[in-house]
Every structure is written in structure tokens, then in C-alpha cells.
Symmetry: C2
Amino acid sequence: MTVSSRKTTIYDIARLSGSSPSTVSAVLSGASAKRRIKASTVEAIQKIATDAGYTTNMQARGLRRARSGLAGMIIPLHDNRFFSSLSQSFDTLARERGLCPVIASTLRNPKEETRVVETLISYAIDSLFIAGATDSEALGALCRAARLPHIFVDLPGNNAPSVVTNNGHGAEQLSWKILGKMRVQADKIRAKPYFIGGSSADYATAERIKAFKSVAKASGIAIDQDQIIQCGYAPRNATVEIAALCDRLGGLPAGLFVNSLTVFEGVMSYFVTLPSDAFSDSIIGCFDYDPLAAFLQFPVYMVRQNSNQLIARAYELLDLGAAAPSMSQIEPDLIEPRTLHKGPLSDLG
Amino acid sequence: MTVSSRKTTIYDIARLSGSSPSTVSAVLSGASAKRRIKASTVEAIQKIATDAGYTTNMQARGLRRARSGLAGMIIPLHDNRFFSSLSQSFDTLARERGLCPVIASTLRNPKEETRVVETLISYAIDSLFIAGATDSEALGALCRAARLPHIFVDLPGNNAPSVVTNNGHGAEQLSWKILGKMRVQADKIRAKPYFIGGSSADYATAERIKAFKSVAKASGIAIDQDQIIQCGYAPRNATVEIAALCDRLGGLPAGLFVNSLTVFEGVMSYFVTLPSDAFSDSIIGCFDYDPLAAFLQFPVYMVRQNSNQLIARAYELLDLGAAAPSMSQIEPDLIEPRTLHKGPLSDLG
DNA sequence: ATGAAAGCGCTAACAA
DNA sequence: TTGTTAGCGCTTTCAT
């Protein structure tokens, strides 16, 4: 293997092998069968290519073929258990299909979202998965203008296919656990269940609140508007809100539906200031899963979204060439307290 | 904005504006000053480009300029708090520099590592950050052959610059906490501290073990080989190992240094089967940070690696054009039990 | 079974 | 101040 001054191209290999660039191209791009190239030629070219350390220039190939081989996805942020799990599935499945994954984060910022999507488009990505966008309409429009196949993940799409967690069903199961196990409190004021986190502008949150309310109704429990605390996803806000609530109630509410892990973290940040018997008569659930949350001082019911299936289904839709608006639902799993979930990748660490 | 059948190119804009492709190119690639293009022409071209929804074809630009504008990074997996935090910093800082981040996971598989790096090279990435690779030598060789500037992150590089956490110092601080607070046990057999997780083939693990031993020595505590349990990073193995250990000892050891979050999860999976007073006379520390680990039934000392600084420093080295082997160290933070760390992005959720 | 040649969209000399 | 032109490395008809 000689260290050349420039990257080896098919022209170098053509020269070295005494054949033409088109033959080399055919061999090296796996079209040798279609072009009926002699087996000996194929082998010779392949050997030379390997020895020269040749790698296809995907920019050139992409430019010519008008397909880059890049699969794009946007997420709000990497540093989040749910989205990083989506990323892992996206990455793995992309590479299984011979695509190169490109994942970019948008920080839940609409301006950034469009900038990022425009960037990805300019790199000629072949497809785009959109997860957790704030302005899905705008992004959909961008993709449509660029004729870019796109699928919304964990987000309903008005003008394109989408794959979402069955938030309603997951939240229903979680609500049944919380409301069903709530003990009758001596203390009337604390007897009510609460929902904390997210924003109802968000589809997923809205679905979960709906389920929470409907289960409450079925259980004969009234839910007032003040029992639904919408403080977004930032841990800091959640800390403030839960502290204020417990202050008002003189203790924890009988039941608490926490709408995401980040909110859960914020809630914990307040809980840790309480004596350990403060939790004994509260049932706590979280819509999202974290292995460590399974091992806290008190039991936590959790709902784990199936990111692998979300992504797998999205790829299926892509393969089908689906472009019409649609909504596939993926069932999440209810995880009992003190349970370590074993996924396909949990042996990796 | 008309929906054309093909993507708009500079030729379309040239035609529409009555100027030449090179002028359009200059304007649209921000070289209008250097080419002294008339302000009115610039404006006209920009307006037409915007109206036509023009976006630069980065494949074509990259092919011509021999620079893609892609910044690559490989990590073992996305679904991991430390690596996803690296990803976030990498993504943010890349886009601040006008680069498009491409992050691919290798699943700690040497074969996959080379495949992934080859793929990234074929997309003509301008630089590569290598994190958590198993065969760093091989990857370094690949990059060198491709004349690809590369930097090892959280990994020492023999033939290229590297930025690593000061594992020794972090582990020393953590060891002092654990060993310094260990109570004298009535039960002699449980009086010894243990180190669990990782593999000493791994640089970071080796450094941490070294520090653990040296602090023990300074504290007059002997460390036998059986006190260093190397079971890799998979939670499952850790569960088995810690169970076997506690079985042997008849309880928890007086001190436990856990070498990563995934191992910690495995350990917790066993701990949760124990009565809550089992932890009262053990000091537990973990080299890695998770907000929820701060809120377990027992206090946990944690070390948080500063991923933002790791990446920032790596970019600095890149900007400097550093290619010679070197090792920058970044200090990690010791996090006291019951503490929620506030990072630059912790307000996002 | 293989080669010649055009062109994907862009940039950068070189001309004018 | 702007236009002409020659590629970047690859694929793909169309010839042979």
C-alpha cells in the first residue's frame, strides 16, 4: 500500500489495470454482473483497488446519481434518553441498509429547525425523519419543496406519513396504575392526583392528558384544571412547580403522573429534600423510562416508548414509498417498579 | 415560489438574472466581495435565489473544493449518557462553525469501527473525532492513509492529538471520598473496598484502577487483585459479579468504586433485591454522572466528565491544525450525593 | 465484454 | 466588474 499524494480514483485504477474507467466503475459499484464483465477482469480490478486503498468518492457518485446515500434525522437534543435511543435505532437500521446516518439536533428552536433541515437538504440527503419538532408544518413544507421523502416520528404529520407512540394507550395504562392504587387519604386536600410536565400544544402531551382525564372519570375522580400542571420539559421549572404544589397541599399528592424524564429529574430534585416517609402514601408514575428511576426510594411506574419499533416502522414506510399523510401507532410498554428493562442493545453498555 | 420539476441550480439563476454562473456562484457562496460584484447585481441575484428556493448543492461544491463541510465523529453508542452528551457538544460546536455533524455509532465492534470510518472517509468528511474506539491504532492508520485530520477523544492517541478526561485525578478524588469515609467494619471480611467494571485493556479504566490503588496505599489499605473486578461495561455482567461478591462477603463491601453508569445500572439491579438497611455501612461511588443516580436510597458520589470541554478542546486542536501526537487533559467534576448538576444545556429537557 | 464521452452542479483560473 | 472554460470523480448511455 503506497502512500500516494492524492486519493486514488477510478482513473488510477483504470490505468493500473489496463481497462477503462467505465469498467472499473462497474466493478467497483457492484454492477459487474449487469455489464457482463469477465471474472478475471473483475478480480484483477478488485485486487488493485484494495491494494491501492481505494474508496468510492460518495460526493461524486451522489452528484452523478442524484442520490447521496445519506439518511437524515433531526431530534431536539442528543442528550436525552428517549432521543438518544431513537438515534441508536436510526443509526443501526440506516447502516443495515447501506445508508450513512446523519443526525442533527435542533434544541427545540424553530429557527434552528429550518436551518438544520436546509443544511441537510443541501447535502442531498435521500430521506428525513423528523422527531420532536416544534414547527412540523414549516419543516414539512421545506421537504415537500425539495421533493424530499420525510416521515414524522413521535409526531403526527398533517401532510406526510407519521409514526407515533400510542400515547393514549400508554397514558391510560399508567393512569390506571396510579389512580387504581391511590390510597384513600385521611388528608382530603392531598387526595387528588396531579399531572405535571409538557405543554398541551404538544401532541403527545395532549394525548396523555386526555387519557389521564378519561381514566380519572372512569374511576369517579374529578380532575380540575389546576391538577394539570404544564411547565414544559425543563427540570428547573418542574422543581419549582412541584415544590409549590406540595407546599400548597402540605405534602405529596396521592397520585402523580410525570410527563417526561427531564420533568421527573426536576421533581426528584425537590423530593430529595423531603424525609423518606413522605412518599409512603403517594403513587408515582412517569411517561418515559430510565433504568435508574427503577431504583429510587419509592416505586415508580414507567412507560417505555419503543424507539426501535418507531424507527423500524418509519423505515418500512420509507421503503414503501409512502408519501400520503398517515399515522402508525406503536405500543409502548408499561414497566413495573424495580424492573430493569432488557432491550436488544442492553448488553452493550 | 414555483414548484419546479428539478432542483434550482446556479444556471437557472444565471439565466433568470441575466448574469453568468460564475457571478451567481460568487454571490451565493459569499465571495461577492472578493470578486467586486456590483451591489445591485448581488441583491438581484440573492432575491432571485431566495424566490426560487435555491440551496447550494453541497455534493457539487464539495467535489469541486475537495472539502465537504462535514465533521465526523464516531462513538460506541448513542444510547449512553456520556456519549450522548459528547454528541450534543459535538453537534452544537460543529454547527457553530458552519459544519454539518455526522455522528455514527460502532457498537464497540472493531470490524464495525473500520467500516464506519471508511464510510465517513468516502463521504469526504473534513475531520474525524474518535471516541471510545476499541482499536484506535487501526483507525488512526486509516485516517492517516486518507490524510484525514483526526483527534482522539477520551482516548489516548499514539499517533495523533488526543483529548482525555483526567481519569487519574477524577478517580483519585472519588477514591478519597470512598476510602476516606469507609467505616471500620465489625465484620472483617467486608472491610475491604472493591472496584468494579470496565477492562484494563481500556486506557481510562487502567488509569482509574491505578488511582484507586494509589489512594488505597496512601490510606494504608491493601488492594488484592480480587478486589478489582473487571467485567466490562454490560449491566448484565455487573449484576452477576456484584451478586457473587456480596454472596461471598455476606453483605456489601465497605466501599465500592463503580466504573461506569452502565455497570452501575447492573449493580443496582442486584441492590434492589436487598433490604434497605443493607447499604447503611457502605460508601458507593461511580465514575460517571446521572442525575437520577443522585436520588437513590443511598448516597452516591459521582464523577462527571466534562464533555463540552472535551469537544471544545478537540475543535481547538483541529483549528490549530495539530497533527502531532499529544494529550490534553480535561478535569472532571466530583459531584456530591443528592446533587443535580446544572450544565449549559440543562434548561432544555 | 468493454471503451469513449457527456454531464451531474459547482468553483476557480484566466480572459476580457 | 463580469464571462468563459476546464475540471472535481463518478455513472451511464451509446458504440463497438
